[in-house]
């Protein structure tokens, strides 16, 4: 038995060595890959996604400073800069570019039709016309969607407030991703026979008023993965605690800072998934055209115990719905 193991071990080792030799001859493994990154705005979730992306590349064998050079561009929410930055990344002959959030992804896709593009933190790649279909992109773009199962989130909320007659939804109408999710949530609630009140705010400055108005009208609140509302999470937390309204949010960060529960996406692991896809493309194992768009693999239930106690709910009673 032992001898067999040793033999297989030796043969594997020799194969690896041979493989190493052959690839060294072509000089491919020594080449430094250039990756350009374009992000719309500095934001906790998006920053996490970028951090995860680098981890994912590392998992795939690409390490910054060794065989990988990253050029990171952030438009700081001035969309007029997206095009200049896209041009820069494309003109630098990047081997691959990453677009973080919808406008960045669209700007890159509009600038190059040949450099492979991976995107992350985009809710609906098909609606943004980045891919022909999620299973077979057919263009030079693929990536990960941050679309979470809205149905499950609504079920989670309704399991916490089973007697609710009216549920509130609030988001920033200026965020394409939020709008898509809110519409799905409205549909899911209507299907469950619950009335829906929708309120929108365009800046964090309006969030408090919107939350207060909504909390007076409903027995539970749902917030999609919305950048504006996630930024104002602690403020929202104060209001819902005072008004004793359970709040389920799409983003796990928001729950940590002032919601009750979420079955949400961990943006760092979403970015990591994206990084692994990018590594496959860089090593020539796959082409974006044929790589199906991936959903987040690890959704997690997050419960804010302090908030639960403040609302008089036993945190253990909150379970992830199927």
């Amino acid at each position: 038995m032992h001898i067999k193991k040793i033999i297989t071990g030796l043969s594997l080792a020799s194969l690896l060595l041979l493989g190493g030799c052959t690839s060294n001859k072509t000089g491919k493994s020594e080449a430094v890959k250039h990756v350009g990154v374009l992000q719309v705005v500095q934001h906790p979730s998006l920053d996490e996604a970028y951090k995860g992306f680098k981890e994912g590349l590392k998992d795939g064998g690409y390490v910054e400073g060794k065989n990988l050079k990253i050029d990171y561009q952030n438009a700081q929410n001035s969309q007029d800069n997206l095009k200049s930055m896209s041009d820069k990344l494309v003109n630098e002959k990047s081997d691959l570019v990453l677009g973080i959030a919808t406008p960045a992804a669209q700007s890159l896709a509009n600038t190059t039709q040949d450099i492979p593009i991976v995107v992350t933190a985009v809710t609906d790649l098909k609606a943004a016309k980045l891919v022909n279909s999620n299973n077979k992109p057919g263009k030079n773009v693929t990536g990960t969607t941050d679309m979470v199962s809205i149905d499950r989130q609504i079920k989670l909320l309704l399991s916490i407030v089973p007697k609710a007659k009216t549920i509130g939804i609030m988001y920033n109408a200026g965020e394409a991703n939020s709008k898509i999710q809110a519409d799905l949530a409205i549909a899911a609630l209507k299907k469950a026979g619950v009335k829906v009140v929708v309120k929108t705010a365009n800046t964090t400055n309006d969030v408090q008023q919107v939350t207060e108005t909504l909390a007076d009208k409903v027995q539970g609140i749902y917030v999609p993965t919305d950048n504006t509302f996630a930024s104002a999470a602690s403020l929202i937390g104060k209001v819902v605690k005072e008004k004793k309204i359970p709040l389920v949010a799409g983003a796990t960060e928001q729950v940590k800072n002032g919601g009750l529960a979420s079955i949400g996406i961990d943006y760092e692991s979403l970015g990591r998934q994206t990084g692994k896809m990018a590594a496959k493309i860089l090593s020539g194992k796959a082409k974006p055209q044929d790589m199906p768009v991936e959903k987040a693999t690890n959704l997690k239930l997050v419960v804010n115990k302090k908030m639960a106690k403040a609302l008089g709910i036993d945190p253990k009673s909150i379970k992830a719905p199927k």
């Binding site: 896709a109 609606a127 200026g174």
Partner: protein, 305 residues
């Protein structure tokens, strides 16, 4: 390196040409009428939205782009009425319209925040179909449109109504005393200005491949910076020449920004870098020799003769 700079230059030129219409629009209110008009940040995304919605519904790209101009004019009409008939101060009137336009633009885009144009025919793909590369198509189309707009404006400012408008900006009391309907002149100025700005938004949406509700943020600064750069580079020009230099100003501003991005500034410092660029541009005239005081802008000389 040389090659990169050439690419940079081409990219800045193609975008600068499209932004020049923003600069021209801001110039009409800021310099000719001597008003600060914030409507720009609302009419810019409105123009992008109108054109994008027209294009995805199969309207001819030229008509779709013209429709944006019309939409911008209506936005300007609203600000003009608020400012002149309802006596709301110009700055506030612009902010009020800009705020309201957010919802209007959202309505135009059927309540979406972002509408994609990827793969749709645009005014630039029309030029590409004539055998130009994408960048050249943008440069040629941008040149044609900006020169056309400048030409039309030069002709307009030689007409009686155009001269009356310039007089209104230079000296409202004297103009009124000479029988010019100054209120109407201001309204017309607002309308043409915001028409140009919406046109800029329409062209940029087609160049970027999407219309976005939040794309107006910071656009007024782009227009102002282009004007200041143009005035610093070449001073004391007649109106036609001045508008031509606005195109150069817009291109130079894009080029400066592109160079800032090249320097790989820390992302969180990028805004500061842009602000410093603006400070340098705005302060430069102080180091020039002659100074003329004109209204609020004591540090910048400009002539409208």
């Amino acid at each position: 390196m040389m090659n990169t700079f050439w690419d940079l230059f081409l990219s800045a030129t193609s975008q600068g040409l499209l932004w020049s219409l923003m600069a021209i629009g801001v110039y009409l209110t800021f310099r000719i009428l001597d008003l600060a008009d914030m409507t720009a940040e609302g009419s810019f995304p409105l123009g992008g939205a109108i054109t994008t919605m027209c294009l995805i519904n199969g309207v001819n790209p030229i008509l779709a782009t013209l429709a944006a101009f019309g939409g911008g004019m209506i936005a300007g009409l609203v600000t003009g009425i608020l400012n002149t008939k309802l006596k709301i101060p110009a700055l506030l009137a612009g902010i009020v319209t800009m705020t309201g336009l957010y919802s209007i633009t959202s309505r135009v885009m059927l309540n979406a925040a972002n509408v994609s144009l990827l793969g749709k025919a645009t005014i630039f793909t029309m030029a590409q179909n004539l055998g130009l590369s994408h960048n050249n198509a943008v440069i040629v189309t941008g040149l044609i449109i900006s020169l056309l707009v400048i030409g039309l404006l030069v002709i307009f400012f030689r007409t009686e109504i155009g001269l009356a408008m310039r007089a209104t900006g230079d000296n409202p009391e004297m103009s009124a005393a000479n029988g010019i309907k100054t209120q109407n002149m201001k309204i017309w100025g607002y309308m043409i200005s915001n028409g140009c700005i919406a046109l800029s938004g329409a062209l940029l949406a087609q160049n970027n491949g999407f219309a976005d509700l939040n794309s107006g943020v910071g656009t007024l600064v782009v227009g102002l910076a282009s004007i200041i750069i143009a005035e610093v580079l070449i001073r004391n020009l007649a109106i036609g020449g001045r508008m031509l230099t606005l195109v150069i100003g817009a291109i130079v501003y894009r080029l400066i920004l592109a160079l800032v991005f090249q320097m790989n500034v820390e992302p969180s410092d990028a805004k500061l870098a842009s602000a410093l660029v603006l400070i340098v541009c705005l302060a430069l005239p102080n180091f020039k020799l002659s100074r003329k005081n004109k209204g609020e802008n004591k540090n910048v000389s400009s002539t409208e003769n």
